[in-house]
């Protein structure tokens, strides 16, 4: 049973290695938009023209990348101690599969006369070229697999732990890059509407707060929209988590301003208590007055010019009657 499992593991890892290498090599050529292998020596592509100059260039562009890719992947797995078949056999198989997927397909399309595949005047040379490339790529795989078995060459291969470290380092670098980029490129001004909506959402989630504002406003004939606008503005300046800290600090220094409406009190009070006090002190009977009068009330509550403008903006956000 153990032997079967071992064999299965061997087969699985080897298969993954072969197909992963073939996939990566295809992707690498695709990335450079090289339309091989339909036409190696065409004149419409600069690279095609370049490799047609002499066989050394053909080797560099067609065979060397395959040798390097198979050596790196197979060598890495072999050197890291993964259970795989003999790298020479695997390298040969990888080279063969890769060549069949590419040149084999191109050869078949050429034989079938598929539309879109350009034929040379001397079509025999095209057949020969593809066939030769299949052999050369297979032999390249063999060579790469052989190189992967040389322990002297393992020194240039990454270790498994080293590879993982490198992947993490790359990931963190990219992440930091995007974070820094978004900070540097942040907009000059804050969208006020977004700020208001965020604060309004935080308040509206405290359903008792909205209910209390409406009830207390009704009793005191206060403009509930005005009170809500002040609450939202206050919440922008002093969010709940900060108010909670102030309440805790209030045990050490009792007198101060507390609650969502930041009213003066000798001891910490709840948001609802602060609303009661603020309405009674500043916003009573504001329900049916002109907006200009409401602006004066806001100013009495907090004379800061920017604060008053913020409250007005929130008011307009809630009510379109201004």
């Amino acid at each position: 049973m153990e032997q079967i499992l071992n064999q299965a593991q061997l087969f699985l890892i080897s298969s993954v290695l072969v197909f992963l290498t073939v996939y990566l090599m295809n992707k690498a050529y695709q990335y450079y938009k090289i339309n091989w292998p339909e036409r190696y020596f065409g004149v419409e592509d600069k690279i095609n023209i370049f490799i047609s100059i002499n066989p050394v260039y053909y080797f560099i562009f067609r065979l060397a990348p395959v040798i390097i890719a198979i050596f790196l992947t197979h060598g890495f797995f072999y050197a890291s101690g993964w259970k795989i078949y003999n790298p020479i056999i695997l390298g040969t198989l990888t080279g063969f599969i890769y060549s069949v997927v590419n040149d084999g397909t191109a050869l078949l399309d050429l034989i079938k006369g598929k539309l879109g595949i350009e034929r040379f005047i001397n079509v025999t040379s095209q057949y020969f070229l593809h066939f030769a490339t299949i052999i050369l790529l297979t032999l390249s795989g063999t060579l790469a697999g052989l190189l992967a078995t040389y322990t002297q060459l393992h020194i240039i291969l990454p270790k498994f732990e080293g590879l993982i470290d490198n992947i993490w380092a790359s990931f963190i670098t990219v992440l930091l890059y995007f974070i820094i980029k978004s900070v540097i490129n942040r907009p000059e001004s804050i969208d006020v509407d977004e700020l208001i909506i965020k604060s309004a959402k935080a308040i509206s989630r405290q359903t008792e707060l909205i209910k209390s504002i409406e009830k207390i406003s009704n009793i005191n004939k206060a403009d509930e929209i005005l009170v809500k606008a002040v609450c939202i503005a206050e919440n922008i300046q002093r969010p709940k988590w900060l108010r909670n800290i102030e309440n805790i600090l209030g045990f050490f220094k009792p007198s101060g301003t507390y609650g969502i409406m930041q009213v003066e009190s000798k001891k910490p009070i709840t948001d609802i208590n602060s609303i009661e006090i603020a309405i009674s002190k500043y916003f009573k009977n504001s329900a049916n007055i002109m907006f200009s009068e409401k602006q004066k009330l806001i100013s009495r509550y907090n004379p800061d010019g920017k604060y008053c403008l913020l409250v007005e903006e929130v008011y307009r956000h809630i009510s379109s009657d201004v």
Partner: protein, 227 residues
Amino acid sequence: MKNNNDLRITNVLDKSLRGWLPVTDTNNNKLEIFYTTKVKPIGQDQFKILEGYYDSRIIKVDYGRIDPRLFTSYTDSIALKQDQCFIFVEVKNNKLIYKDNEIFYELPVVANNIQHGTYSILFPYRRHTDKVSLDYLNEHKSGSRFAETWFPFRTSKFEFQYIHFGKFSNGCVTFIGSGEEWSKLYKYIISSRKKSLIHGILSVGSTFDEQVEQIKKESVASTTVLK
């Protein structure tokens, strides 16, 4: 049409809801009904719609789609301002004229390819979010939060055009003034009722005076409204 203090949809004029209340009906269909729609409470949190395209449907407010929820209730007994509304479009002068609270408003419009005549301004049936860019809604850039509400009028048995806020016209009455002016016009129309499904009259013609005379002749409405 007399306006008693009927129960109507309110508290939806903020920048998040922009004139439409999200509701669900008894089949869990997600709908939206517009500001001032007449409703009747029929149980805990349930209402019956009493006018418009969803007349007689039983609905519940869909609080899940209201965020932030700034009001505990979205209905109130309110009286509408007037009966039907009158909108006049002077095609050659590219002007829209209406009267509200004894004040005449003359506003810029584009109204291409509309035949002269009178039309019924119908209830809006949905938000036209797909037709509206974010700039149209941005009140800091002269937009209006009500830019998504388009008022249909029937130009033939199977064709509709709209009174709407925008820039281009191809058969529509396109309001090209400021967002603030559109918001006022929106409230004027949305608060009007001729009868169920109809807010009032759109008149398209050469000059305002000619159109008023025409309407008087056709006895479409009480002449006192047009003085």
